[in-house]
C-alpha cells in the first residue's frame, strides 16, 4: 500500500456501510477490498488488469476478475452494488466517461478518487521547469506511467456539472492531511462520493 493512500482507505472505510456490496474497479492487489471485507463485512468484487495483482487478490481470498475496465461492466445488472469504487483508476482508462456512466448504472453510489495535476508543484513543473506535470502520488516518468489522461480537480468538477451527477461528499488530500483551502492548488488527491440525479 502506498502510504499516502491510507487516508483514502480510512475515508472510504468510514463511508461504506456495513454489509454493503462493493465493486472495486482497478482494485490493484486488493488492500481496500480486504479492509472493507474485514471491517465492514462488505461483499466485494474487484476487476484488475494486472495479472500479478490479481494473484495477490486471490491470495487475500478476495473475488477478482482479470480484465479490462473499458469492457468489463456490461455483465452486471442495474443497481447491483451499493458502491462502485474507482480509486485512482479513472485516469488510466481509454473511455473514462463511458466507464463512469456504467458505474452509475450498476452502482447506487460511486466513489471516485483522482490525482490532481493542478497541484502547485505540478504546475511549477510545467511552468518553470518546462516538464510535463506528474502527480506526486504517481511519480513515474511519462513513458512509464499507466495514466492516459492528465486530470485536475477543476476538470473533474466541471465534468460532474456537465453530466448532471450529484456530489454527496468531497474530500481533498495532501499526503495524509485534509485540505480545505483552494484544493485545486494545494491538494494532491481528491475523493468524491457521487450519485445519479
Amino acid at each position: 500500500m502506498l502510504p499516502n493512500e491510507k487516508i483514502e482507505y480510512d475515508t472510504i472505510e468510514s463511508l461504506v456501510k456495513e454489509n454493503s456490496t462493493v465493486l472495486d474497479l482497478g482494485c490493484g492487489s486488493g488492500e481496500l477490498m480486504e479492509i472493507l471485507t474485514d471491517k465492514k463485512k462488505a461483499r466485494c468484487q474487484g476487476i484488475e488488469i494486472d495479472e500479478e495483482k490479481v494473484y495477490a487478490c486471490v491470495r487475500r481470498g478476495l473475488s477478482v476478475f482479470l480484465g479490462d475496465l473499458d469492457s468489463g461492466l456490461e455483465d452486471y445488472e442495474d443497481q447491483t452494488f451499493d458502491y462502485v469504487i474507482l480509486n485512482h483508476s479513472l485516469q488510466e482508462l481509454k473511455e473514462p466517461d463511458e466507464v463512469l456512466q456504467d458505474a452509475f448504472r450498476v452502482g447506487k453510489k460511486v466513489i471516485v478518487g483522482i490525482p490532481n495535476f493542478a497541484y502547485y508543484r505540478s504546475r511549477a513543473l510545467l511552468c518553470f521547469r518546462g516538464v510535463a506535470p506528474h502527480a506526486p502520488s504517481q511519480p513515474q516518468p511519462w513513458y512509464e506511467t499507466p495514466n492516459l489522461t492528465v486530470i485536475t480537480i477543476k476538470d473533474f468538477l466541471t465534468y460532474i456539472k456537465t453530466k448532471n451527477y450529484k456530489i454527496l461528499k468531497e474530500y481533498y488530500f495532501n499526503n495524509s492531511r485534509r485540505i480545505q483551502l483552494w484544493p485545486n492548488i494545494f491538494a494532491t488527491r481528491a475523493l468524491f462520493v457521487l450519485e445519479r440525479r
Binding site: 461483499r43 468484487q45 495479472e51 490479481v54 494473484y55 487478490c57 486471490v58 491470495r59 487475500r60 481470498g61 478476495l62 473475488s63 477478482v64 476478475f65 482479470l66 480484465g67 455483465d75 452486471y76 445488472e77
Partner: protein, 380 residues
Amino acid sequence: MTETEEASNIAESAGIVETQYYRYNPLPGTFLMENGLSLPFIDVAYETYGVLNPLKDNAILITHAFSGDAHAAGYHENDKKPGWWDNMIGPGKAFDTNRFFIICSNVVGGCQGTTGPCSVNPETGEPYGLSFPLVTIRDMVEVQHSLVLSLGIEKLHSVAGGSMGGMQVLQWMASYPDMVKSAIPIATAAKHSSQQIAFNEVGRQAIMSDPNWNNGQYYHGASPAVGLALARMVGHITYMSDQSMETKFGRKQKSEKNPLKFAANFEIEGYLHYRGTSFVKRFDANAYLYISKAMDLFDLAGDEPLHKVFRGACMKVLVISFKSDWLYPSYQALDIVRACKLAGLATSYVEIDAKYGHDSFLVETEKESQLISHFLNKVE
C-alpha cells in the same frame, strides 16, 4: 534417471500409490443413466492421496480430462512415470496432500478401470461394446457422488478439474451445490462449441472408418488401432498452440531421412505418430467414442440462461483459462464467469498468460499452482 533421482521424485510426490475399486451397486431400478438405460453395477477405479481428517471435511475431488484416469498423482509400484497431475497434487503442491485428502476416479464410460464399453457385461459374459448406454457428464458426476458418499464425506472442500474435468466441476456445482465449498473449473466450457464438436467428430470418424472397428465388436480380434491413433493425432494438434509447436519442433527434420516420398520426416510428424501409437496401448476406441460424445452432448443450462443453473448456490469459484488455448478459448470461461457473477457467487477469474495451448493446465502449472493453493487456503 538414476536410482537416487527416482527415489527423490517419489519422495516429493504423493508416494507409492495404488488404484482402489468401489462397486456402485444400486437397488434395481434406482440408478438409471440419464438416457434411461440402466447398468447392473458400476465398478469405479479411484485413488486417494493424503489423509481424510476425523471431521471428514478436507476432501478435494479431482475430475479428469478426456484421456485421463484415476491415477492423478504419485507412482504406481515399479512405475517410472507419475500420475497425470503429479506436478499439482502432492506434499506442498497446489493440492497439498499434507492438508487435503485428494480423490480422483476414472469416469464411467472410460476404459481405465471404471465400467465402460470395454467392460464385460455380466449378463452376457461379453464386453458391452456398443450395447453400452450413452454416457453423459451428469452420469459421471452421479457415480462420483456415490463414491464420495461411500467414503463418508458429506461436504467437499473443493472440486477441481480441467477440460472435460472442468465440465464435471460445473455439473457438480449445478447438481450438488450444497456438497461443495468451492469449485475450480479450468480450461473448460459450459457447452461445446461447433468447432469443438467438429474436431471430436473427425476423431470419431477416424475410428469408425477403421475396418477393424467392426461396429464396436473388436474385442476378440484386431483393434481399430490405426483409426484410434489418427483420432489422437488430431486431438493432440488441438491441445497444443502454434507457438508451442513452433518452439518444440519448428521445421526440424529427422537427421536420417526416410527416402519414401511421403515419409514422416518432419519432427512434428514423428511426434504425432508417436503420440498416436502410444495412445492406442492405453485407450479403448469405443471409450473414445462414448466419452467424446458425452463432451459434445454436455450443455449445462440447455435453453435456460446459465446463471439460473447456479441459483441458490453459495460456493466460492475460481475460473481459470489460458491465453493460448484456442480449443477452449477464454470467451467460454467468461460465459461461466458471467453466470457465476449473476448468480451472486464469490468468483475469481484469471486468464493465465501461458504458451502451451489447451495442454497448459497440465504442463505450464507454475502460476496455476500459485493461484489454486492460495485460493484453497481461503476456502472456509
